[in-house]
């Protein structure tokens, strides 16, 4: 008698083996080299690199700045995120749906484009907010200088509060409202219920969101690059960037960068692991399965106040930067007042049709992001299938390697790629798109696996089993039942990878060469070369693409 089930098991082991091989090439091997290269120089064990990194004053300063900014941004994000999550989740504020969608907008904004946008509003002389402030109060001191520590903290808080907002809003939505109702019937007032029941129950989610914001802040590169370097303010990511760029072509510089990046890795890794623990441990205790009517707090006569607060915040922090970037991109000369005769479409025309460097960058970014999204979704679905639907041994190991780069800052991924694939330990991919593609695939693999796994989990096993007893074999079941059901999820997942890959800066800035320019790096170069208006036009194009892409995602997943 034939044993098809056995064959099937060996097929899944084969597939798993292939997935592991991909992960080893993309993740495990480069990460191993990252650690090895901090203690081995010229095939000898040495602590020289560590001593060198430790004896540099600038490195201490960068580390201190990173943590300082990280802590302040975490506080800011947590306050903003939790407050608005409660406001749109648990009060009788009007237009909650629309407010919620608008409050999520900063999440879509690439942080480095956010930095450019805020430069148009808060640069000390020409920023619109500062100019308005100075003329209104007849002063020469600006409201806030965006090129300062506080400027960086504010801009990062605005782009990272959605991490807190999403986790807390989710927890509030899923919390069993009868828990709060029980406290009300026990005689506790609205405020007391919030303090004694609601807050303790959502506090793990607040903490988790805060840790995500912290990790995002310390691994961010674009904002401190655009807002900090001007005045010589460095954090770890920009410091590593300097190591690589100023000592480029030297392996020594790379190794020093690697040593410094181990710090970054440890800090963000710890935050992400803690976050997983927090939600993993307590999640199920307080959450009811079905979505129920939440317990609504009546704002009463405070309603207009809260609504006004919400609208002012949305205008100032969310809409003004987006509007301002488009406004500036239409100017003939930066700093001109916004009048009809000063407006032009030339910046867009130039970026899209005139400049071959930009055209090359657009083409590269398109090729890279399409390829990365496709590879990640194919490999990711296979891995997700093994993780979600099978019980074969070794899947935990795979899960670890998949989720590993999720917690690794893009800067660190880039350095690991440079170590592994620039000739010293095998093929030299430097100067080719393959190097960047490998980095993107490693960096976004977790995102692909997560979205594929999320759609696979929706497909109850009995749906597959019903096809099996109907006479379909494993392959036919996959084609007829599983594939059609997860298709929308996979399309959304593809876009979720495609969009951030298309406008990527952090990783590619360390990996590009003249022929492999990406669009994110092109914008950076525009700013470096002083073409501010062209940079805003390019940012405007990218933003449009991001917003359209996200509309498509909400469409297909609805």
């Amino acid at each position: 008698m034939r044993l098809p089930r056995r064959e099937e098991i060996s097929v899944s082991y084969l597939v798993l083996g292939a997935a592991i091989l991909v992960l080893v090439i993309l993740v495990a091997w480069p990460m191993l080299l990252l650690f090895v290269n901090t203690v081995i120089v010229d095939s000898e064990f040495t602590t020289r690199l560590w001593r060198e990194v430790f004896t540099r004053r600038q490195n201490y300063t960068a580390l201190r700045n990173t943590l300082y900014i990280g802590v302040l941004v975490t506080l800011g994000s947590t306050v903003i995120g939790s407050f608005f999550a409660w406001l749109v989740g648990r009060t009788d504020l009007p237009f909650k749906g629309a407010l919620k969608a608008l409050l999520m907008l900063p999440f879509l904004m690439p942080p480095f484009i956010g930095a450019i946008a805020w430069e148009t509003l808060l640069s000390p002389r020409s920023g619109y907010f500062n100019k308005a402030f100075m003329s209104l109060f007849h002063t020469t001191t600006p409201l806030l200088d965006v090129f300062s520590t506080w400027g960086i903290v504010m801009v990062e808080s605005i782009y990272f509060y959605p991490f807190v907002f999403i986790t807390v809003a989710g927890a509030l939505e899923r919390m069993d409202p009868t828990l709060e109702e029980a406290a009300r019937t026990a005689g506790a007032g609205m405020l007391k219920v919030m303090k004694d029941v609601t807050l303790p129950l959502v506090s793990p989610s607040i903490m988790a969101g805060a840790l995500l914001a912290f990790a995002a802040s310390i691994s961010n590169f674009g904002i401190p690059l655009f807002l900090g370097m001007e005045k010589g303010f460095f954090v770890l990511t920009t410091r590593i960037f300097i190591y690589i760029k100023t000592q480029s072509a030297s392996f020594e510089g790379l190794q020093l960068g690697a040593t410094l990046s181990v710090f970054l890795l440890l800090a963000s890794g710890t935050a992400i692991i803690l976050e997983g623990r927090l939600l993993g441990g307590r999640k199920y205790a307080i959450l009811a399965g079905k979505s129920m009517r939440p317990h609504i707090v009546e704002l009463g006569r405070w309603k207009p106040v809260f609504l006004a607060l919400c609208l002012v915040f949305l205008f100032v922090a969310v809409l003004a930067p987006i509007g301002s970037i488009y406004l500036v991109s239409l100017l003939k000369v930066y700093g001109q007042p916004v009048r009809w005769e000063n407006l032009t479409l030339n910046n867009y025309y130039h970026e899209l049709f005139k400049d071959s460097m930009i055209r090359g960058a657009l083409r590269n970014s398109l090729v890279l992001s399409v390829a990365a999204a496709t590879i990640v979704m194919i490999v990711g679905s296979v891995i997700a299938y093994v993780l979600v639907k099978t019980r074969i041994k070794g899947r935990k190991v795979v899960e670890f390697f998949v989720m590993l780069p999720y917690s690794i800052p893009g800067t660190v991924v880039a350095i690991a790629m440079l170590l592994a694939w620039t000739g010293k330990y095998g093929p030299n991919l430097y100067g080719t798109l393959w190097l960047i593609l490998a980095a993107y695939c490693a960096h976004f693999m977790a995102l692909g696996v997560k979205s594929a796994a999320a759609s696979l989990e929706q497909v109850h096993t009995s749906l597959e089993e019903a096809a099996r007893v109907s006479g379909a074999n494993w392959l036919k079941t996959f084609g007829d039942i599983v594939a059609p059901l997860i298709k929308p999820g996979l399309v959304a997942g593809w876009l979720l990878v495609f969009i951030p890959a298309f406008r990527e800066l952090t990783t590619s800035v360390l990996l590009v060469s003249t022929h492999t320019m990406t669009i994110g790096v092109a914008i950076y170069n525009r700013l470096e070369d002083g073409y501010f208006l062209l940079a805003t036009a390019m940012s405007g194009i990218i933003l449009l693409l991001v917003f359209v892409g996200n509309l498509v995602i909400t469409r297909v997943t609805r």
Partner: protein, 352 residues
């Protein structure tokens, strides 16, 4: 041919023994229920028959053919077993219409279109879903989805049907209705049915025989009536219907002695394998206590009117008895009455 035989089947998950050494033969055309509390291994048993789990040990035969054998490393995959199966969650495919759901097994064997239409229409009429073929699952009620699942399982005219708690997600009235419809279908089509349920009433009403399971073991395999009247042990007696357990002592072949804390009572009862002087547990069904006359005196502690019967809790000294009496004669709470214990059974003291 459509006899299903399990021989010493064992399945362990990690440390949990889900099914232990189960042997049962389900005869051609028979309706057999697997009954037991949640987690006792019913679904696992069904899934081993369907081919979704491999037994660690033991064999499963369809007629003379071995379909699973741990020892001989034989395993026929589910798609080759030619079974009909209805899942607890219905497992109706949400991206296919009712017609396509039911037609799927036929399309797998590449039946031609005309025949598919005819066969599906017939299956839909069997489950009273004529004319709903073009609907999608989200446009159907729970009961209708249930029928789609049933039609899909029946469409290939399988000789054996497996059903895993198919009615547990329906409301009480619909559940009652579907019990009879499923039973009726089974009789009309003459198929063998293996039916998983945790609802004893369902098992009683529908089955020719019932397998009472607990912690992976089959405690008793018998007709419903036998299971109720002659439960094999204390677990089965307790699980099926209501029952009182009272400690007692065997005094001779026909009599046991009850001590209720204030006095002693002699009760007549066949003692089976028990010896004189041994301690035992007396099991009495509520309807086997007659009220109004008898050697034992008790006090009504609670009386609950249930429509067709009155449900009493009666204190017999320090022992509380659950008794059901006719609705014609009503005793009030606090009243003293005489009672007599009729049919009863003896179990060993510790067994449970």
């Amino acid at each position: 041919m459509s006899e299903v035989r399990l021989v010493n089947v064992t399945k362990t998950f990690d440390a949990v023994a889900a099914v232990r050494n189960l042997s049962v033969t389900i005869r051609d055309g028979e309706f057999v229920s697997l009954l037991g509390p949640s987690g006792c291994g019913k679904t696992t048993t069904l899934r081993m028959i369907a081919g979704f789990e491999r037994p660690d040990q033991g064999e499963i035969y369809f007629g003379d053919e071995v379909v699973s054998s741990g020892e001989k490393n034989i395993f026929l995959p589910p798609e080759k077993r030619k079974l009909g199966m209805v899942f607890q969650s219905y497992a109706v495919w949400p991206h296919m219409s009712v017609f396509d759901n039911v037609a799927y097994p036929l399309r797998v064997i590449k039946m031609n279109r005309g025949e598919v239409k005819e066969t599906v229409d017939h299956a839909l009429s069997l489950v009273k879903l004529e004319g709903l073929g073009s609907r999608y699952p989200h446009q159907l009620s729970g009961g209708q989805q249930q029928r789609v699942a049933l039609a899909r399982a029946l469409v290939m005219e399988p000789e054996v049907m497996l059903l895993d708690e198919p009615l547990s997600n329906l409301d009480a009235k619909l559940r009652e209705e579907m019990r009879f419809e499923i039973k009726d279908l089974q009789k009309r089509l003459g198929i063998t049915v293996i039916y998983v349920t945790h609802d004893q009433a369902e098992a009683m009403v529908m089955s020719d025989r019932t397998v009472v399971m607990n912690e992976g073991l089959a405690y008793q395999i018998d007709e419903p009536r036998k299971i109720y009247e002659q439960p094999a042990d204390r677990f089965v007696a307790d699980f099926i219907g209501l029952i009182n357990f009272v400690e007692c002592e065997v005094i001779d072949e026909r009599t046991v002695l009850l001590k209720d804390g204030t006095g002693v009572h002699k009760v007549e009862c066949g003692i089976g394998d028990f010896n004189k002087g041994e301690r035992a547990v007396l099991a009495i069904r509520p309807e086997n206590v007659s009220l109004g006359a008898g050697p034992i005196r008790g006090t009504i502690k609670r009386a609950v009117y249930l429509g067709n019967v009155l449900d009493y809790r009666i204190m017999m000294g320090k022992i509380e008895l659950r008794v059901q009496g006719e609705a014609g004669v009503i005793y009030n709470e606090g009243e003293e009455i005489d009672l007599a214990i009729g049919r009863c059974l003896l179990f060993p003291p510790q067994a449970c």
